[in-house]
Amino acid sequence: MTSLAGFGVPSLLAALFFAGVSLVLCLVGATRSSERATAAGRRAMAMCFAATGLAVVALLTALFAHDFSLAYVAKYSSRSLSGPYMFGALWGGMEGSLLFWTLLLTGFSTVALERARASTPRLVAWAGAVLAGVACFFLMLLVLPESPFTALLPVPADGTGLNPLLQSPGMLIHPPLLYTGFVGFSIPFAFAMAALLSKRLDASWFTSTRRWTLFAWSALSIGIVLGGAWAYTELGWGGYWAWDPVENASFMPWLTATAFLHSVVIQEKRQMLKVWNVSLILLTYALAVFGTFLTRSGILSSIHTFTEGPIGKWFLPFLALMLLGGLGIVLARLNELKSENRFDHLMSRESAFLANNVLFVAAAFAVLWGTIYPILAEVTSGVRLSVGPPFFNSVFIPLGLAIIGLTGIGPLISWKRMSKGAFGRVVRVPLAMGSVTILGLFISGVRSVGALLAFGLCAFTAGAILGEFSRGSRVYRTRYDVGPIRALTATIDRNRRRYGGYIVHLGVVLIVIGLAGGAFKTERHALLSKGESMSVGGYTLTYRELRQSSSPEKQINTAVVDVASDGHDQGSIYPQRNFHLAQRQPQSEVAIRTGPIEDLYVVITSFDQDGDAALRAFVNPLTWWIWVGAGVMLSGMTILLSSPGPARVRARVPREIREPAAATR
């Protein structure tokens, strides 16, 4: 044996031991107010992280050394699997992904507890206890029912190999980003619980963890979009989102986390909605754990559920304990969680934020309903059924339209109350832009009410956001006499939270434009002999020939398809249908010609010995904007994350005050 696999189980046992020690020490530190015990608890968490890291290294060396004496290695890798995808195999199965989850959890916990020592020392003990408790649970799973280090006898000569669908660069980034998002919410969750347990219910629990929340939310957002991009480019059904239970599992915590990100602003500025905020982060984390459970329990059939394991019976009690314990402590602290202000007026920033929250939570509830309704129906009436995309689309079109409109209105309204006249003045230009867009589209023949509303609201909201940028930079220009670009970048730089947020909103608008384009997609499926043509959405596709070749892993069948549009020759595209030898499975490689106006998307669905091929072709208008919008969102998130934290904001006050403050730290 050339690998370090032998270190696996002892490392996990050591990690569990340190997590237990950390839990006990943090509890002692919290209840006895002992800083020494808390500090030792923090160090135990760091040791737990180190031990978990060693277990990950052990599994990785086993994968790279093709140590098929481990069942996990034999099941998820093979000798022909190329290097980078060994990392894919690390989270390709349940045991490995739980191990990866735990690595992230203990790593994030170590860093967050260390950093919180300075900003929120009084919350560290309880937060450490909560995080160590969660780590104990996951390590227990890894030691008892789901060990990635289970031996396999007899040792096979080669492994089964990773599912070819997962051998794609997107699959190297998508799962870790989702897990980073899921696990990242552990930190704000733990500090919220710590605030409740220690009765320190000021804003410090969420201001000091805001970067964690933003970081987790950003990772989850980009992870979800990458999952969609992977489905679009790999699965070959012409879409990017199928309302699959596991997609829903990642979408639900995203929705509640988005609500949370907005509603904490009300608490920060106006000391309101305190119960709501702790409940939202509790719900977000519960949904993140529920997402992990759904993905990994096999309770719902889904293409993502690659493994069906017995861990449901472990996860459900854990989830129940977390929810009931969390809700219990919220109820016990209701008196301390009273709002210090009231809603003054319907026409206020507070109401806009509240409306945002209602919509996002309703959206999350709708997804939850559609996802668990089949389970409820089976348990209560024995009927096996499933809830399909028509349900989710019917809910999300109205909710999404309301949310996108609110994205435009919200930032225009002032805190406390706004007069109708003032609102009218700021809303005039965006409203005109929205109306002109709707009118223009109507004249050019668009009749779908949903699409008209979607594009109109997108124009409205884009106008509102761009208006904010122009107002902000105009103020800066009149004051400092600089060029427009300088003024714009300086405006963004000086208020990164605000303008970073607007840039994220702008990205969302672009994504919605891309989603709305789906209303105009066209699809054709045809069986073609060589030389025959089919037409789809303005394109004429002519099937020329089928080229066959082979590599050690697969037989490659490439169709040569000439593209013409309005009689103009536009070159050829080359969809493939390959046969993977190790998995004995065909896989289609989609040919996509993408652009801002529309994507041409061609798949070979089958071919026969005579060389006749069945081609499925889609024209997907505006899909390109989804990925561009995600890029814009990412740049906004980067600006948000680079905004000074609470400590640095204090450091921005004049130097003579900053110096002594820095000395005391």
Partner: protein, 136 residues
């Protein structure tokens, strides 16, 4: 919302908020209930045995089972195959593109309707038999 602190601010129009909130919640609940009635929002699973014994229902069904080996026939865009639950076999015909994992002994779910001995599917999902334990 449970603000009890008295401030110099005039008392807010509280009932308005509650009525507004109730209306919003009612509308959202209505949207969800309405969405559940959309065609295709809900579809029932059915096994080959249930279909063979005449327990066919109207509307959108999902036939779940395993592809009988050597039963797959392709004729142009039309694919015909037998689905079994180890007790009964049902013939499925579809003109939809078949997923990559579709082959002999694949576990499949066919979405469609049943009539005169044949299940006509508009979409077929498949799980590869080597990766998934046969369990329906």
């Amino acid at each position: 919302m449970q603000g009890t602190q008295t401030t110099s601010v005039p008392p807010p129009p509280r009932p308005k908020f509650w009525i507004g909130g109730a209306v919003i919640v009612a509308v959202l609940a209505g949207v969800i209930l309405w969405a559940m009635t959309q065609p295709g929002a809900e579809s029932n699973y059915i096994t080959p045995t249930e279909l063979a014994h005449g327990q066919a229902q109207d509307g959108q069904l999902q036939l779940a089972g395993v592809v009988v080996p050597d039963s797959i026939e392709r004729n142009g865009l039309i694919t015909t195959f037998l689905v079994t639950d180890e007790t009964e076999e049902i013939s499925v015909t579809t003109d939809s593109p078949m997923p990559d994992a579709f082959k002999d002994s694949s576990e499949v779910v066919a979405f469609g309707s049943y009539g005169s001995g044949t299940f006509t599917a508009s979409k077929v999902l498949a799980k590869c038999p080597s990766k998934f334990k046969a369990k329906v």
